[in-house]
């Protein structure tokens, strides 16, 4: 009989709507809603089950992957098992020392040097000082930033930062490792080394829980997968089987989100989001879009009161970099509009975004004179789509490697005849 590392029984997590996104209450808000709302629990807000009655078991030494579209509850599950938040119902029995990597570089301080951050980050991840001292050289070597060890990390390039941060994390040796999509960082070469490290984790008999959007990665690392959808566990089985179901099933995709219940849809008394999707040039919902095609982000929302609002999108790439924010600049949004359904699409030109996964945050805001925009409705990472490169003339040119950067525009380059320009190289007649 194998020992269980994790035994999850009917675990559920309830959130108040809005809590996950705009949690900042001030006393003033409570006073405005009447003093009776001061007692939590009496808040006149709707709730949502981020996880709903999920049960599964993980044997010691098993490597388990978790997939599902955005908002399915993957991250909530990892946060519960990492003891960051508590379940509302149900329980999980965890046997063994837990180490969780929900982010690369948690607690890194920009003012501190690389050396100092190795110790700080190691301690935060749960390593003992003696353990860090022992593995220090190995960590430094893995990261490849030896020369910059005594430089504050704020002067690091983002690539160096990620490499150092991952190196510390990779040397954590818990019995149960919980990883949330942190591998999708760094350059291709480094990613390969990270994957190797992850594979050796699995082979060394440690229990690993791994969340990713990347199907090739997760299929390679995890023999068994869980598929979550809207907080429920819909499938638990061999990887190929679950991935097949996920990609071709009726669960929809990350490129489309709908909020069918008008009362539970994200938003406030002014506006509520009803749907959002990623479309290609022909208007078809699409998960995967070629760099050489324009990309549309369609937002549908209900305006509940006469108000001047505007749709807003933020695009974040797989390294967490904000690629850009954009608002609908159509002048119709300058005036208060009548209540009703509005549907608008933002068109992102072809040859702008780089290859990789893009997460889209959609929101509806209104401008307050001289203040920050008022957020009526917002869903963080509501949509995810992949930008891929198939063929044709692109910004890649003849270069075959990965192109760094959040964007990769196709630029017009002009060249000046060298003779017309002043040159330092050839100046005869001067002593």
């Amino acid at each position: 009989m194998t020992n269980l590392a994790i035994d999850v029984a009917g675990i559920s997590k309830q959130y108040r709507i809005g809590q996950m996104h705009s949690a900042i209450d001030t006393l003033r808000d409570h006073l405005m809603h009447g003093l009776h709302t001061l007692r939590a629990g009496r808040m006149p807000r709707e709730t949502i089950w981020a996880l709903d009655d999920v049960s599964f078991q993980v044997a010691e030494g098993e490597v388990l992957g978790i997939i599902g579209r955005n908002g399915a509850g993957k991250t909530t599950l990892l946060r519960l098992l990492s003891r960051i938040t508590e379940p509302t119902k149900g329980y999980a029995d965890v046997t063994g020392r837990v180490g969780s990597l929900l982010e690369v570089g948690t607690g890194f301080h920009p003012e501190l040097t690389g050396r100092e951050n190795i110790f700080l980050n190691g301690a935060i991840l749960g390593m003992r000082r003696s353990e860090i001292v022992r593995k220090f050289d190995e960590i430094v070597e893995f990261s490849g930033v030896e020369q910059f060890l005594d430089t504050p990390v704020k002067r690091y390039s983002s690539g160096m930062f990620v490499r150092l941060a991952f190196s510390v994390a990779a040397h954590l040796e818990p019995e149960i490792l919980i990883v949330d999509e942190v591998l999708a960082v760094g350059d291709a070469e480094f990613q390969k080394r990270c994957l190797g490290k992850m594979e050796s984790y699995g082979q060394s008999g440690r229990t690993v829980l791994f969340v990713s959007h990347s199907m090739p990665t997760i299929a390679r690392l995890c023999p068994r997968l869980l598929l979550l959808d809207r907080g429920r566990l819909v499938e638990d089985g061999p990887a190929e089987h679950v991935i097949g179901h996920y990609l071709h099933g009726d669960l929809g995709s990350s490129a489309r989100r709908e909020w069918p219940d008008p009362h539970a849809a994200p938003g406030d008394d002014w506006a509520r989001l009803r749907s959002a999707r990623v479309v290609d040039a022909s208007g078809t919902t699409s998960d995967v879009i070629d760099v050489s095609e324009p990309i549309g982000i369609e937002i549908a929302f209900d305006l509940l009161r006469r108000e001047a609002v505007f749709p807003w999108i933020d695009l974040v790439d797989e390294r967490g970099t904000l690629v850009f924010s954009a608002i609908d600049t159509n002048p119709v949004w300058n005036e208060a509009r009548e209540p009703g359904r509005y549907v608008t699409t933002a068109w992102i030109p072809e040859h702008l975004l780089n290859e990789g996964a893009i997460h889209v945050t959609v929101s509806v805001k209104s401008a307050l004179l001289g203040r920050k925009p008022w957020r009526h409705a917002e869903v963080e990472s509501a949509l995810t789509f992949q930008v891929v490169e198939r063929e044709g003339p692109t910004a890649r040119g003849d270069f075959a490697g990965r192109i760094s950067g959040a964007v990769r525009p196709l630029l017009r380059w002009t060249e000046v005849e060298a003779a017309d320009a002043p040159s330092l190289a050839a100046r005869p007649g001067r002593d």
Partner: protein, 290 residues
């Protein structure tokens, strides 16, 4: 089957099972919680070390600020209150020495308040990504300023030399009163840091709170200048006991006001315990609310 055993990285035995579920807690702090905090003492050390390291990075004067601030305050307060408004010191002690012996624990206390009140929200990247006993964060915020206190203490030694005074044996109780200041700051810090998670008004309240607190604490005046009734009333302020006791220890004059110390200590303990109770009650929502 304790939580501490599994997360205690020194536990040598085979791993044990812990159950993660909604807490139904009766006591604010059980021995199991204490053991867990002990197991994380290295993290406490690193957070204090981080705060100390980062504080004076990229400043021209560096740690000299820890000396400069209380010193200039002493000069200004002497000019305004002593020379200008003729406030007297106690037992014919030079006024600069009198005020500086109070500025030391007070500066420490206010530094703790401003650091601890924003500590949980300021460390939200940790709270939402890693598990560790949350109490460590406000605790680190009141330990780190001890270093500034020690630096400023050298000024006091300099002033003793300047005024040609010999230290008194009372000095040995200084750590006790510093400990009482830490206890008070930790208690208030627990309340403010936890409240700040829900109500971001806290950073606006703190300067106002500090200013009012300054005047109801015997800093610019001495406890003996007050009527007996008022002395008892002022001892309800835990910092009154700290400052009066600290001054007695440093200056070595007068009789110790035991009733003031005892009452102040009792209140400080009550503030700390209530803060602990509130903090423990709401900490499980931190990651969801922050």
């Amino acid at each position: 089957m304790s939580v501490a055993d599994v997360f205690d990285r020194r536990a040598p035995e085979a791993p044990r099972t812990i159950r993660l579920e909604r807490t139904r807690r009766r006591l604010p702090l059980t021995t199991r919680d204490l053991r867990e905090i002990l197991a994380y003492h290295e993290l406490l050390f690193f957070l204090v070390w981080r705060d100390v390291k980062v504080k004076y990075k990229q400043t021209a004067l560096g740690a000299a600020w820890a000396i400069l601030v209380p010193f200039t305050q002493m000069v200004v307060f002497t000019l305004v209150f002593n020379r200008g408004l003729h406030v007297k010191s106690e037992y014919h002690v030079p006024y600069p020495l009198f005020i500086f012996s109070a500025m030391l624990p007070w500066t420490y206390f206010t530094a703790c308040l401003s650091a601890s009140s924003t500590s949980i929200v300021g460390n939200q990247n940790l709270i939402t990504k890693v598990f560790f006993p949350r109490l460590i964060i406000p605790l680190a915020a009141v330990v780190a300023p001890v270093l500034d206190f020690l630096l400023a203490f050298t000024v006091l030694i300099g002033m003793f030399v300047y005024y040609g005074r010999a230290p008194h044996w009372h000095l040995v109780v200084i750590p006790a009163f510093l400990g009482m200041a830490l206890l008070t700051a930790f208690g208030v810090g627990l309340w403010l840091s936890a409240l700040n998670v829900r109500y971001r008004d806290v950073p606006y309240v703190v300067p106002y709170l500090t200013m009012v607190w300054f005047f109801v604490t015997p800093i610019i005046y001495g406890v003996t200048a007050l009527r007996p009734r008022t002395q008892e009333l002022i001892a309800l302020n835990p910092m009154a006991g700290v400052i009066d006791g600290f001054r007695w220890a440093v200056l070595g004059r007068g009789l110790p006001h035991y009733h003031v110390y005892a009452l102040s200590f009792g209140i400080a303990l009550a503030v700390m315990l209530s803060g602990l109770w509130y903090f423990r009650r709401v900490e499980r929502y931190f990651a969801d609310l922050i």
